[in-house]
């Protein structure tokens, strides 16, 4: 079957009535998550994993996994749309990938062109979503075929590369990022060993036999961490919300933003495929590119429509692009995709080369649903943008305690254990203080998700080589991965030492 036939089958899955509803709910909640202050895409997705688990509990396993991942991915790219709303109307980015949008979005709003800025952001996001999906369709098959040929040693090195890619660019200190990665891998070893069945670091506590639950930790460090930050730092929006008048862009607006949208989508897509670079960097690069090639660079920062179109397209294309290494190689390149991967594993679905072979319905159903979701988002975001803008005014007074209650409900519903609830609060506390001091949380969660797989591949490789570690550098593919991994960490360090500015990815 060709990619096209697979895609048609995917549409058959995605167009089942329950999946249409799941996609709709996903993108709707995603937009809300993007608009609401104090809750970003990672915490949004983490919070919703347990909710989707209970929503899909009546379905057969594979259908449940498909529906759940359709909803969660919808939250992810939906949040990318919603994030622009607060940037433009309030001068405050809803999530980090909309930081650059503030530069020109808010001046546009002050000139009375808020509606146009919002609609261009929506159109750009839509186009970018389509570009990255087409890329996904064409790259998914060949990439996963290549990935299928990898030996355990190659796979181990590839995952090390993924970890290094996320750590090398995450946050301000590489040392801290690496510490978080290693710590994530370490806590993944708690529990019964998969291979030998030996209990590790369980201290005879039955709660620890199955290991620390990914879900509890992700919801704790991301959702509760954010909540604690909002309370402690009184992180509340103040300031005037710009009025929205005209929504439909003029022909001139469209003409001016067509180029930036196209270039932004391509930049974002390729940036998204590369693990560790993420949507924030993509939107930065797209903005810088537009400013560089513009004939009127002095207009940037004062309400240039290109300064909204390019970064908003780029961050959406990047989130689509980031799905490629996740689905084909099993390597999540961003914090949010790491959380998505954890969700798939919760459903006993292993992302990676075998996903397209073992679960074509899930992989292609998800891809097709992203087409549908993007259309829904365009429809939601053009006429309804005024309704979503109202959400900005939600008083944090009600929002904050409710997020705590939703976290508690979610974790309890899946785990039914008070131990996990206490762990949840603890993770929130530790997460807040570590994140505040530049210890990035995404590598920790990534380490936790990849830990068991890395260990399995390590041990399989070492078993074939009779415990000889040189197998990792004797296999050419593995060697190449390891060399890239080392470069990924060292090149930015060397550049920093030479006094060059290195842009880091914050998610």
């Amino acid at each position: 079957m060709s990619a096209f036939d697979y895609l048609l089958n995917g549409f058959a899955t995605a167009l089942q009535w329950q999946n249409i509803i799941f996609a709709f709910v996903g993108v709707l909640i995603g937009t809300v998550v993007g608009v609401l202050p104090g809750i970003g895409p990672i915490s949004g997705v983490a919070l919703l994993i347990p909710v989707t688990a209970s929503l899909t509990s009546g379905l057969p396993p594979e259908a449940a996994a498909t529906s759940a991942i359709i909803l969660l991915a919808g939250v992810y790219y939906g949040a990318m749309y919603g994030g622009s709303t607060t940037s433009i109307l309030l001068n405050t980015p809803g999530e980090s990938s909309s930081v650059v949008t503030v530069l020109d979005g808010y001046p546009m709003a002050k000139q009375g062109r808020a509606g146009v800025a919002l609609s261009i952001a929506a159109i750009g996001s839509f186009f970018a979503g389509l570009v990255s999906l087409i890329g996904l369709v064409f790259l998914a098959e060949p990439l996963s075929e290549v990935a299928l040929k990898l030996s355990p040693a190659d796979e181990f090195s590839l995952m090390i590369l993924g970890l290094c890619a996320l750590s090398g660019l995450a946050g301000k200190s590489v040392t801290k990022a690496l510490m978080m990665t290693v710590f994530g891998l370490l806590i993944a070893t708690i529990g019964l060993d998969n291979v030998s069945g030996v209990a590790r670091f369980t201290f005879d506590m039955p709660e620890l036999y199955s290991g620390l639950e990914f879900l509890t930790i992700a919801v704790g460090v991301f959702a509760l961490g954010e909540v604690f930050k909002t309370i402690l730092e009184r992180d509340v929006n103040e300031g005037e919300i710009a009025k929205i008048s005209r929504i439909i862009p003029t022909k001139q607006d469209l003409k001016e933003s067509a180029g930036p949208i196209l270039r932004g989508s391509l930049v974002g897509f390729f940036k998204g495929i590369v693990p560790g670079s993420g949507a924030t960097l993509a939107s930065f690069l797209a903005y810088l590119l537009e400013k560089k090639i513009s004939k009127t660079p002095e207009k940037f920062g004062k309400g240039a429509i290109a300064g909204v179109a390019a970064p908003e397209s780029a961050n959406n294309a990047a989130s689509g692009g980031a799905m490629i290494p996740l689905l084909t190689l099993g390597i999540p390149g961003t914090g949010t995709t790491a959380v998505l991967m954890g969700a798939l594993i919760m459903y006993n679905v292993q992302p990676g080369p075998l996903l397209f072979e073992d679960h074509p319905n899930i992989a292609w159903g998800l891809i097709a649903s992203m087409f549908i979701g993007n259309v829904m988002l365009l429809i939601l975001n053009m006429p309804l943008v005024k309704v979503f803008a109202k959400l900005i005014e939600t008083p944090p007074k009600y929002l904050i305690p409710m997020i705590v209650a939703i976290s508690v409900f979610g974790v309890y519903a899946v785990r039914v254990s008070v131990f996990d609830l206490v762990l949840l609060l603890l993770c929130g506390l530790v997460g807040y203080f570590l994140a505040k001091n530049d210890f990035p949380m995404a590598p920790l969660v990534l380490g936790l998700v990849l830990g068991p797989m890395i260990e399995n591949n390590l041990r399989r490789a070492l078993t074939t080589s009779n415990g000889d570690f040189s197998i990792f550098i004797e296999k050419p593919v593995s060697l190449v991965f390891l060399i890239i991994a080392v470069l990924w960490i060292t090149v930015p360090l060397i550049m920093k030492m030479r006094g060059k500015k290195v842009i880091v990815n914050e998610e």
Partner: protein, 153 residues
């Protein structure tokens, strides 16, 4: 960058690294059919964590003198109230049931965030706790601790 926090954190992670290395000595070294046992991975990672912690500790000496910037005032009072309330919430969840514990936690939470408007707080807390319970337990057939039996309802 906070020198104190980073030093403290590097020491904690150092201790954790040592604990994992020591702990992995007690795990049997070989698994059936493989000469690579379940102890290698945590032992290696523990050692890595030790090295990285030492590196961070060393880095803290190179931090530039922290400018005496004004310390942002953190809202510890509200934070502690909500944290303690959340702790009671999770510990009492199974004792007094989902509806009552959630209702109480939300009420305390709303009032801590902003005093006043009691009616709104009561209505929203009630609607949330009952709503979630009904939806999850009655409609979706999930399990949550119900009302405590000693209420006799």
């Amino acid at each position: 960058m906070s020198k104190t926090f980073d030093r403290f954190a590097s020491l904690i992670f150092l201790v954790l690294g040592v604990a994992f290395v020591v702990g992995s000595q007690n795990i049997s070294a070989s698994a059936y059919g493989s000469n690579v046992g379940p102890n290698i991975f945590p032992m290696g990672l523990g050692s890595l964590l030790i090295l990285l912690s030492l590196r961070l500790f060393y880095e803290t000496f190179k931090y530039k003198q922290e400018g005496k910037k004004e310390k942002e005032k953190l809202d510890y009072k509200r934070f502690l109230i909500i944290l303690v309330a959340a702790l009671f919430y999770v510990l009492l969840l199974e004792e007094i049931g989902y509806v009552i514990s959630t209702f109480l936690f939300l009420l305390v939470g709303f009032q801590t965030m902003q005093k006043g408007k009691w009616l709104n707080s009561v209505l929203i807390s009630g609607a949330f706790s009952f709503g979630v319970y009904l939806l999850y337990v009655e409609v979706l057939d999930g399990t949550l601790p119900g009302l405590p039996t000693w209420l006799g309802l």
